[in-house]
Symmetry: C2
DNA sequence: TATAAATATAACTATACGGTAATATAGTTA
DNA sequence: TAACTATATTACCGTATAGTTATATTTATA
């Protein structure tokens, strides 16, 4: 995969998926949700974000199939429906750690 | 990982990494490079992008440690230095395929 | 039916970002 | 040294996007 020339359309879809993950607030929402269910108010409280903003982010991720939603009375209850999100974050996180370690080692020999 | 509350700073670093991958042109450059080395001119030719644009994208990815660069005479030769990039793209690609398959199945019963 | 609560949407602003054209900077060769 | 080549950088433009405020919508309740 990724070897057999992806079409412009395919590249755009992949880029769009990455774009959704390219915002700290959305990552915080996803981290807050974790493997649980939460209604919008709970997410707002936990992330200390604005209500409208959180709602908009959740809508965007709902449309992309990253989260799912069900209504229960007045509440809209969201959950992460795409577990690969966490996998992606883990890969990036590990890579960043490695990278910092390398840089640290590279600087280790420099006299202060 | 991703469970133990990431700091705002950590979230921003992760988001920035995803942001670099959130552009079709940059993905095309990475796909073009693949596992080989190429100079800027070759990348420009292969991607049919503008010289300045390709150079700028490569610089951004160089700074982020996604690609590495070495000079050889007049040429600047780049290569992908972060293999996890391909892993990330594969995960996204697979997920998108699954997602489309589900949607297709969901529509299968609808009469045309 | 009127009120209240939870969520979504619309309108707006400020900012970030990608693409391009023009120019600068190396490095090469005549 | 002068002309040339490959790459990088700058300045600019248009657009996309995150956040906010205000409002709409939906559902529950008095």
């Amino acid at each position: 995969m990724m070897n057999e020339e992806l079409s412009e359309e395919a590249l755009e879809m992949i880029a769009n998926r990455f774009r959704l993950l390219s915002d700290p607030m959305r990552l915080r929402i996803l981290q807050t949700l974790g493997t649980d269910e939460m209604n919008v108010g709970e997410v707002v409280a936990a992330t200390k974000g604005g209500q409208a903003n959180v709602s908009k982010h959740l809508s965007a991720m709902l449309e992309a199939g990253i989260v799912s939603r069900r209504k229960e009375g007045l509440n809209a209850i969201y959950r992460v429906s795409d577990e690969t999100i966490f996998e992606l974050c883990d890969v990036v996180c590990s890579r960043l750690k490695e990278q910092f370690k390398s840089r640290q080692n590279a600087l280790a020999g420099i006299s202060t």
